[in-house]
Amino acid sequence: MHIDYSLLSTEIALAILGLIVFTLGLTLPSRSTNRGLGAFAIFGLLIVLGITVSFWGTQAELLAGMYLIDNFSVFFKILALVAAILIVFGTMSYANNNLSRQLEYYSTIIFATLGMIIMISAGDFITLYIGLELMTVSFIILVAFRKTDGHSLEAGIKYLILAGVSSAVLLYGLSLIYGATGTVYILELAELVTAGTISPLLVFGLVLLVAGFGFKISAAPFHMWAPDVYEGAPTPITAYLAVGSKAASFAILVRVFVGGLAGMQEQWATLLAVLAAISILLGNLVAIPQTNIKRMLAYSSIAQAGYIMVGLLTASPEGIKGVMFYAFIYLFATIGAFVVVCAVYEKTKSDEIASYAGLSQRSPLAAAVMLISLLSMAGIPPLAGFVGKFYLFTTITDNFMWLVYIGLIMSMVSVYYYLRVALVMYRDEPTDPTPIKMGAAVNVTLIIAMVATLVLGIYPTPLSELSNIAAQSFFTW
């Protein structure tokens, strides 16, 4: 069998980059080189990003359908890489000051990215599982990275246990689907599973699949790991978990459900709609009493997962487009917020919302970015989140009007707790009025996140067209 390895350039390049960074981290002993290592990792990731972009427009399958390359997967790969680059870039000084030994840090981030990218392109269950586990295992290491800090370790073990359980549940679901259909290839599955061929085994497998993926995207009621892990993990990792891991999981969720199990849409759509509703309600309501900003963002990310799920319900190109659009703008909003959290933590050594008092006077840029990011998540125009929600919710006004009500009313409720942060930042007097000095890298990242959120809110056409093309390619297999 002839295998065109050039189609795997992204993955191969990323794997090589990860190994080089790992080796460099081992062989360069002095502390001062850590900084250089981060810069090198970013440089490498940029090259990989360039390679990935060049795949735009390619539609090919590899190894008899085990690996799929289309605009849909390229879109999510770009997303994962952009997230990795921005996070590494924006939090380099945090990593330098707060993570003692970093030689594995950057390479593990790269391997986590590799896992995401494999998962995004997966065309069968085995590849899916390998990518998923590579990502999860890397994240477990990263979450527990501050191994002298009990919080970090505790978050790590909690993530490990719940990720292990969810993988097992997911696998069990996959094995049942394999048993019911006799195939592990997603594209073959699409042909085999039609409305007439639904067996109890398949339905049971589907339910387990929903539960397993629910863990990965932190949808309620499978969300309980998220607040603890988000709070305990080093902040850059929290950011990457919230953006990268979630987006990649959504990509494969779309691939399996809309791509493979479209014949069972009737069965899973209602299930996912209920899950989305619970996530939106619970995420937003439980976020209200939180006092730790990372925990608050964790609950808000649960709600965001609910919003994104809305795009799957109709299994239509419009819905997938909404998922992709929203995932991308969510990236900028989340990274903006978490980079501010990092910057503030470096100065105040606290993640409590109270420590943000007077941030607008200590660092106007950080306060503005935080406000804009939070409001974008709430879907206030002219920020990108508004357009994103518009794309998502217009697809379901026919069949799930009740969910539209829940989604939009709860997103206005979410403004309540987002604005409490604004209140602290803008009204309160700082306890320590010294300005927060942020490095150039942080400033640049913040400005990128802010400008992207603003511009995509006012003029979303370029991104919406890209996601439209990507969504179309998804349906041309």
Binding site: P381, F386, T397, V404, L408, M412, V415, L419, S464
Partner: protein, 505 residues
């Protein structure tokens, strides 16, 4: 007319805000001057457009770039900035109030730079809603105004009866929840229209041509009524209004009561009634009843108030009842009158709030029993206050008289007894306005206010600008009515066409 003159007017305050961002913190006076220039440019443009608009031709004029510019094609969004006889009075009103609001906050010392930035963004947002002829862009601006208001209330607001945090949050959450219903409606409408026509289009004109089924119209109109009604402080969704105004700084109260509320009324006529005539017909009696309850309830509420800001707040809820009553007639005359009330009340409320703001600034109280005899020391302030008060109770010769009269005539034909109750509201209005004026301005001079200085310099701007509009509008009502008529007539013609065809569409 290809020069994007309306976009220029929209961008002037935004650019001014950007300039102020880069000013050093100490340059307060410069910041205020730049803000005045920014809003002044917009004001001049809107005055020019108002008088250059050809009422005999009607329709959309001054279309930016000559045509709608595609903006988000897959949502049917176009950058469609244009004015007609309905938008223009609102645009003018916005800029009149925006310009004077800058001067009304001339004495703010604390973080004046930030105040000016937010104020300018707020003005630009409000302006955008009135000139955007595309539903999506309208919504964009509609919601954009909420957040600056929140920040302004929590920083510069006053905590008299309720804390400013409470007032700000109440106002914000009320308006946002209202807008959530509106958004649900808009999404469903967009999806439905796309279903029916197959072409994504969100311009008001385009949506009005879509033949929505009657049941759908009734459903959607209810959602829009909740959304816009909240903003218009329709009873029983009004309770944010007095608290919010009392907590807000003067400039915000002026803009909010003056123009922001009117976005609700504007949305009702421009979007809800125009696009869903059958829905409007179904809900019109409900609107009329709610409007009249609002008039009576809020007038009674105002009667009981001792805080000047609460008094004006309740009075504005009461006036919005007349607007709703006018809309509920679904006739040309009634709607004309309602739109004219929106303009007239805007000018009056802004003047009122700015004068109350000055009184508070100078005496440090808004509590009516503690005031008295201000006329002796501050005659100009007292004149401004009484001018606004007289306009509020509908004194002939001021701009408010004729619009209210028109609404009474039109609604009496349609709703009879309801209109009588609404007219009775005027009497209560006269009662509380005169009593407030008498107790706070006249009577013997109180010793504690001996040193109160009259308004002067920049402080005079609100009085001069808004006061002269009140008077000119009263003497030459045709200036206002011709304009409004040219805008409302085609809208109502469309509505009546569809109503006459009945539900058979």
């Amino acid at each position: 007319m290809n020069f994007p003159i309306l976009t220029t007017a929209l961008l002037a305050p935004v650019i001014a805000a950007l300039v102020i961002v880069f000013l050093p913190r100490e340059e307060e006076r410069l910041a205020k001057s730049i803000a005045a220039i920014g809003t002044g440019i917009s004001l001049l443009i809107s005055i020019y457009v108002y008088f250059a608009y050809d009422t005999s031709v009607g329709g959309y004029q001054f279309v930016d770039f000559g045509q709608p510019i595609p903006w988000i094609p897959d949502l049917g969004v176009t950058w469609y900035m244009a004015v007609d006889g309905l938008s223009l009075p609102m645009l003018l009103l916005t800029n009149l109030i925006g310009f004077t609001a800058v001067f009304a906050s001339w004495n703010v010392k604390e973080r004046a730079k930030e105040l000016m930035i937010l104020l300018l963004l707020l003005i630009a947002g409000v302006m955008g809603t009135f000139i955007a002829q595309n539903l999506f862009i309208f919504l964009l601006f509609y919601e954009v105004v909420v957040i600056p208001i929140y920040i302004m209330v929590i920083i510069w607001g006053s905590s008299k009866r309720v804390t400013k945090e409470y007032a700000g949050m109440k106002l914000t959450i009320y308006l946002l929840i209202g807008s959530a219903f509106l958004l649900v409606g808009v999404m469903a409408i967009f999806a439905k229209a796309l279903d029916i026509t197959g072409i994504p289009d969100m311009s008001f004109e385009g949506l009005a041509q879509v033949a929505f089924p009657e049941q759908f119209q009734i459903y959607m109109f209810a959602l829009l009524l909740i959304g816009f009604g909240t903003l218009l402080s329709m009873w029983p969704l009004h309770s944010w209004s007095p608290d919010g105004y009392a907590g807000a700084p003067t400039a915000v109260s002026m803009i909010h009561a003056g123009v922001l509320k009117k976005i609700g009324g504007y949305g009702l006529i421009r979007f809800a009634i125009y696009v869903f005539p059958l829905g409007a017909k179904f809900w019109a009696p409900v609107i009329a009843v709610l409007g009249v309850i609002g008039v009576a309830y809020a007038a009674m509420g105002a009667l009981a108030q001792k805080d000047l800001k609460y008094l004006v707040g309740y009075s504005s809820v009461s006036h919005m009842g007349y607007v709703l009553l006018g809309f509920a007639t679904l006739g040309l005359i009634g709607v004309n009158g309602a739109v004219a009330i929106m303009f007239a009340h805007g000018v009056m409320a802004a003047l009122f709030f700015s004068m109350v703001g000055f009184i508070y600034e100078k005496t440090h109280t808004r509590w009516i029993p503690e005031l008295g005899g201000l006329f002796q020391n501050a005659p100009k302030l007292a004149v401004g206050f009484m001018l606004a008060g007289m306009a509020s109770l509908g004194l002939p010769g001021l701009v408010n008289f004729l619009p209210e009269f028109t609404v009474f005539i039109a609604s009496f034909k349609v709703y009879g007894i309801l209109a009588v109750i609404a007219i009775a509201g005027i009497i209560i209005t006269a009662l509380y306005i005169l009593r407030a004026g008498a107790n706070s301005l006249f009577g013997p001079a109180r010793p504690e206010y001996k040193d109160v200085k009259d308004i002067r310099g920049p402080e005079m701007v609100p009085l001069v600008v808004l006061g002269s509009v009140l008077v000119i509008g009263g003497i030459l009502p045709s200036l206002l009515f011709d304009m409004i008529n040219s805008g409302v007539e085609p809208l109502m013609a469309h509505v009546n066409d569809i109503l006459q065809m009945g539900g058979g569409r």
